[in-house]
Symmetry: C2
Subunit: 201 residues, 2 copies
């Protein structure tokens, strides 16, 4: 009963999580240039070669945690009342949950700066969001009774969510005022639901 998955699998997941966590911590504490297969592997007490078996790049390791958290957001969406309109679920769940999962705002700021400075980080964060979107697309498709592999709308909406979160995060990182990231995400989502009305003169 303790093992619905094998010991082997649990160890692998643990190692992957530990490596990812170590990569993240190293970046927060010592900057991006301090994150290398060697330093990360040493922190987890495995060989550098093993690090490369788990992650194709240091960027992937750093951002892996975000994809995991996207998974838990998707689970939270699944847990919403069955009849609730999807847009309502999203606007209810996403802003606070994203803000909650991101942790220290100082950490997020460091991450955003790394993403904006380093081309490899920038590219990889786009990939991470893309992977997260697949998770969201699956949930949305479940809840609307469509198939996200064949129907446009779920994928479009999932992609729009990614856009909302990235746009909000960017605006947050660049703004001098300290509006909350949750509010920014909420505003982006509501604009999207309204069809991005441009107040044109």
């Amino acid at each position: 009963m303790t093992s619905e998955v094998s010991l082997r699998e649990r160890k692998k997941q643990a190692t992957r999580a530990a490596l990812s966590h170590a990569a993240w911590s190293l970046m927060i504490e010592h900057g991006l240039q301090a994150v290398t297969p060697e330093t990360v592997a040493e922190a987890v007490d495995v060989s550098p070669r093993t690090f490369r078996n788990y992650f194709a790049s240091r960027e992937e390791a750093i951002l892996y945690g975000l994809v995991r958290r996207a998974g838990s957001i998707a689970d939270a969406l699944r847990a919403r009342p069955a009849g609730e309109p999807v847009w309502d679920s999203l606007i209810e769940v996403l802003p606070d949950m994203v803000a909650g999962l991101l942790g220290e705002s100082r950490d997020l700021l460091l991450l955003m700066h790394a993403i904006l400075r380093d081309p490899a980080m920038f590219a990889q964060h786009l990939v991470a969001f893309e992977h997260s979107q697949e998770l969201f697309a699956a949930v949305i498709a479940e809840r609307t009774g469509t198939d996200h592999r064949y129907d446009l709308s779920p994928r479009l909406l999932a992609a729009a969510l990614g856009v909302a979160m990235r746009t909000a995060a960017l605006a947050w990182a660049q703004s001098e005022t300290d509006v909350s990231i949750a509010d920014l995400i909420r505003r982006c989502l509501m604009e999207l639901r309204a069809g991005i009305p441009l107040g044109e003169s």
Copy 2:
């Protein structure tokens, strides 16, 4: 009058275009693995080192043409009548222009397969779209009289356009039926303008 930019600058642009074009052609004709700094440089008759002075990776070279074309789409948007609502301009211009600029549908299919197969291509195509979105955000901000550096809406809309085009391209590449890419883009845009209404039961 022929030279509003210097000869030097024109030569650089020509070299960049030639390298990008060669990289694209090589991919279409001989597959992704045939595209290397060496082969591309040879096709343009420059040194491999020069190729790397222009592009950070083969993927960047292959996709550079797409970003250029995004620029010409942005120009087309600028040329629309001043009073026209932005969404109308977009729906009017984007679908046909994208389809027209992409050329042979067989080529596009090869590109999509390369993007879906190769992680580096996948990452780079996201970056290319991101760069294109900055161009679109600038146009939208001009036409709505907002500043895309401080206002959310133009960036959100520009990002949504990228999403529409990528989602459409993906659906097109995966569909067995031969709907036109222009129609798919139009459908995505109209769904976005309508706030992605999900026909929920």
